[in-house]
């Protein structure tokens, strides 16, 4: 197996922007409408300060009738609340719909990628993108973006309102801006790597705890408690140190923003002093200007503090778009249909790394409906041969054909309909058990599902589940045993019903008692199909029509159980050790 990781691609900034544009285009009306309503809401909110200023002016003039401005304040409150709610709802819809489109496109592409490519990148890369990156973007869409949008609108419109009061108030307020811009630059440069380090440390702590707590019995058996508590202490201390560095950075950031607030507020007050003194503004106007600026404190802090969230979301989006832009498997088939369910591998050789052959000169023929067992030590090339026949890898040399049609002519889609590979990896899909099975045949009725389960001997435990076929299984729900999960994999095979099936170590991980139940189930699932079984237990091999012994990538023996036992070769040695008959 190759040791280098070729991570899946990340989109360029330009391509990411274009992808956002593509998502936005069909919703132009919604975007403009949402923006317009939010602008209106913010503008209405800005009327509060001049209304209060007007009241101040009325008091200064000795008037006692405040009905109009107070009624205005009440109207502003109601209109602002309503417009704000409407605008936020529109913008949320925009963001959520775009997010849903993006994640659906991503999952579609991710599931369509050739397995070879995913394995080169390590499946962790894809999983991280589908969980962490999508979550980061979703959080931004839900929390940061509306907040950022609202704050920016408030800031822009407030500054506009200051300019309307008197352009010199705006000039005074803008004295704070250079300090704020410099502060953000200062902060982002330090925050991005620090937060990345915090995420890494948090992940490492979580990993360490899972490792230690999950293996608690082993820790106790080998008396490793002190060592493991030490490991957890180290990881935890690292996370604590980084959290404290984070808070130091954040408080320094806000201190610098406090300075900007002071500079701006003093400048606006001094401008008011000068403008009132020269008769260019009333006291009410000066009051309104000062209140405007004071009311900017929170939105400015909120917007600036969200800058690094926005940056993280952009980086995540680039990773999502990178995968969404990938091409799927190329359909090379020319419509040829396999005739029958035979398998033929001719002079097949394979190397994952050039020069290191895993298989050499393998010839293997399986007749229609024949069942062949592959026996050999780990590293003999059994799994590689299984993957080549299933079309997951292309052989370096030689050719493979199913039903007389070569895999190249068949194309990936038809190959997958013709041959199924049940691998050692068992996975129970989270959700109702019936949904898991229907992945293999979407239109299956409950009766079909029950028949498939009965065929692999799973009826008893499925009936015993709290809600039968509707029981929610998988991660975080009802957990199935390894044996049950493997029976489920076999039931999926029965439902998918391909003419050719390959079982690779499908019974390996179960305890020895489970292994026997699975052998029976595997045998029944293979009925009516051409089957290639990678056998761990010799009894499984003994029951096959023919046995092929692989050693160091070559076929060294082939024949029926009786023939091989009689021949006195490797297989015969193994069998003698098993059956306790000493030669």
């Amino acid at each position: 197996m190759s040791t280098e990781r070729e991570l899946l691609p990340t989109a360029t900034a330009r391509r990411t922007r274009a992808a956002v544009g593509q998502l936005l285009r069909p919703r132009r009306g919604l975007a403009l409408g949402g923006l317009a309503v939010l602008v209106a809401a913010t503008a209405i909110g800005l009327l509060t300060a001049p209304l209060l200023g007007h009241i101040v002016d009325l008091v200064a003039r000795g008037s006692t009738d405040f009905t109009l401005p107070v009624a205005g304040l009440a109207a502003v409150a109601l209109a602002r609340g309503a417009a704000n709610a409407w605008g936020l709802a529109l913008v949320s819809r925009l963001g959520e719909e775009m997010l849903a489109d993006a994640r659906e496109r991503f999952v579609e592409r991710a599931l369509g990628l050739p397995l070879e490519q995913v394995e080169k990148a390590g499946s962790g890369d894809l999983t991280a993108r589908v969980t962490t990156d999508v979550a980061v973007i979703a959080k931004s869409v839900r929390e940061a973006l509306p907040e950022l949008g609202r704050s920016v609108l408030t800031i822009v419109l407030t500054l506009g309102a200051l300019a309307i009061l008197d352009w010199r108030f705006l000039l005074a307020a803008l004295l704070a801006t250079p300090i704020q811009l410099w502060t953000v630059r200062w902060y982002v440069r330090r925050a991005v790597p620090l937060y990345a380090a915090q995420r890494v440390a948090g992940g490492a702590l979580q990993h360490q705890l899972l490792d230690t707590v999950g293996g608690a019995r082993t820790v106790r058996a080998f008396r490793l408690s002190a060592d493991h508590v030490g490991r957890v202490r180290g990881r935890s201390q690292e996370a604590v140190n980084l959290a404290l560095r984070g808070i130091r950075l954040m408080t320094r950031f806000f201190s610098r923003l406090n300075l900007a607030e002071y500079v701006g507020l003093s400048a606006v007050l001094a401008a008011g002093f000068w403008l009132v003194g020269s008769g260019a503004a009333t006291i009410g106007t000066a009051t309104a200007a000062a209140l405007y600026f004071h009311s900017l404190f929170n939105p400015v802090n909120a917007a600036l503090a969200l800058v690094d969230d926005a940056q993280a979301a952009t980086a995540s989006l680039a990773r999502i778009v990178g995968v969404s832009d990938l091409e799927g498997e190329r359909e090379t088939g020319d419509g040829a249909a396999p005739a029958g369910a035979s398998v033929k591998a001719a002079a097949v050789g394979h190397a994952y790394v050039t020069g290191h052959d895993v298989l050499s000169d393998v010839d293997l023929d399986l007749g229609d409906g024949e069942r062949v067992a592959l026996v050999g030590a780990s590293g003999a090339g059994k799994t590689t041969l299984a993957k080549l026949i299933a079309g997951i890898h292309r052989p370096t040399r030689g050719s493979i054909s199913l039903g007389g049609v070569s895999l190249d002519e068949l194309g990936p889609a038809a190959t997958r309909r013709t041959v199924a590979l049940i691998s050692q990896e068992v996975h129970v899909f989270a959700g109702p058990l019936a949904d898991d099975l229907r992945l293999a045949r979407p239109g299956a009725t409950d009766e079909d599902l029950r028949a498939a389960l009965a065929r692999v001997g799973a009826t008893a435990w499925v009936e015993a589940l709290p809600s039968g076929l509707s029981t929610v299984v998988g991660e975080g729900a009802h957990r199935l045993t390894v044996t049950q999960a493997q029976q489920l994999a076999l039931a999926r095979l029965v439902l998918a019903d391909p003419p050719i099936a390959i079982l690779d170590e499908a019974t390996a991980e179960a305890g020895s008692a489970g292994a026997r139940a699975l052998e029976t189930a595997a045998g029944r699932a293979l009925e009516g199909r051409t089957g290639l079984v990678v056998a761990h237990r010799l009894t499984q091999a003994a029951g096959a029509d023919r046995i092929v012994v692989l050693d160091a990538g070559r076929v060294v023996e082939t024949g029926t159980h009786d023939q091989l036992v009689a021949a006195g070769g490797r297989y015969a040695d193994l069998w003698r050790a098993w059956s306790g008959t000493r030669s």
Binding site: V59, L88, L111, A430, H536, G580
Partner: protein, 559 residues
Amino acid sequence: MPTGRSVLRKAVSDQRRYVVGGSALAAAHQGGEALVPVLIGVIIDEAVTTGDAAALLRWLAVLAAVFAGLSVSYRFASRAAERASEQAAHRLRLEVTGRVLDARGGAEAGRLPGALVNIATGDAKRVGAVNGVLPFAVAGLAGLLVSAVLLLRISVPLGLLVLLGTPPLLWLTHLVGRPLERRSGDEQERAAHASGVAADLVAGLRVLKGIGAEAAAVARYRRTSRDSLAATLRAARAHAGHDGVILALTGLFIAVVALVGAHLAARGDITVGQLVAAVGLAQFLLTPFQIFAWVNGQLAQGRASAERIASVLAAPPAVVPGTGVLSGGTAGHVRFSGVTHGTLRGVNLEVRPGELLGVVCPDPADAVHLLECLAREADPGAGSVELDGVPLPELDLDELRSAVLVAAHDADLFEGTLLDNVLAGTRGSTVEPALAAAAADEVAGTLPEGVDTMVAERGRSLSGGQRQRVALARALAADPAVLAVHDPTTAVDAVTEARIAGALREVRRGRTTMAVTTSPALLAAADRVVVLDEGTVRAEGTHAGLVDSDAAYRAVVLS
């Protein structure tokens, strides 16, 4: 015995220095924030209205001092609060880990590893977070008091209006918000489901590809995603509505304060500047009350988390350790006498010093229960297990486990190199024979950096067969006087298994070994084989002998 209350109390009192210091500083910060609108009013009154430049400079200097004070106090308050919170969480995390790993066991009973990890991370964090919010609760109270004094000094009726009006206002917004928030919480949970489904499908990618189910999976994800979108949109609308109601109610309240204040100012009871300050304070006062609501929520979470932590710390131990030590070398003579535990019904079984005994349990539960008693993860309800004539409960647990090692079928590997893992159980002895005997040297040979290759947490970077061989090498390297292995080769191919069986005999020569298995290769290598059935010993002999004479044995082992 720790309780939720005592856990929480200790978490706070351990960090009291930071909590108290942080509270004082946070209060100073709140006071400063409250003074800013007041000073704006003062500057309007004293400088802008009068045109007194000296007053302007004087008051701007005061404003500068207030800003400096509030900024510095916020900086150090936050740091103290964060430190108190993180340190408390760190201690609790280690305490929980220590309890889980305690030799007496019992903390995992009824809890999945994931749940325990959540307690050590999430719950520890939430209890620690109480330290982080307490200073701000104190500060909110201080801000409330300062504003109240300032308001009442401006005008008693206006002050009373604001002070008495704010709580009902917040109560009203809470009342409006509660059903909305509850709904939004439910729906957000359903929305999170979509992300889980996507991760699950990607995790099962090989399975999907194996049966050509990609299209069905994409269709399923699309449905989930659309459901989740609908739920999220409902939640978002509820949220937006809630925000709108709060904005409107706050605005109306300010209008009432302005109306009353304007009349007082018109009558000459207060100045224009005081009117401005009063409106500013009315807006400011919402913050402390919002802080109280937030602190209350955090406290409730912290209490619930403290309960969960306490339940782990207070979990009863699975076994009570003795104090006995084994004098000199251990002969390795194990005797089960009339052991009744779980599915076992009076098992009498002897493992003689230096022999390799095969134990066949057609019912896997028998094997688990037998080994549980030997490892002293549980004590039998009746009967006893003895090592060299000493009942196990009389022995110190560390002493016992250094002499008797039970290598479980599902034993975990740990993060670190392959060699680190194998060395874990040794006291620095050489591991090459163990690596070779378990055929783990072959595993190392296929890995990029041999025995120095890193193994991911719980051995996930290795295949099942590789994991089993490394785990077996670790058990053999520990070289205990008594070694029990449980189904050590189920994921190993038949060729390698035969080699391991032969090597196991050699590497354990002269030491007691018990192989609980139905593997014919291992049983053929054993000196003697004992068969359990229905919780009791049914047959005994050699593998070849039993294969010949015992049809039931043949059915279990060879079919």
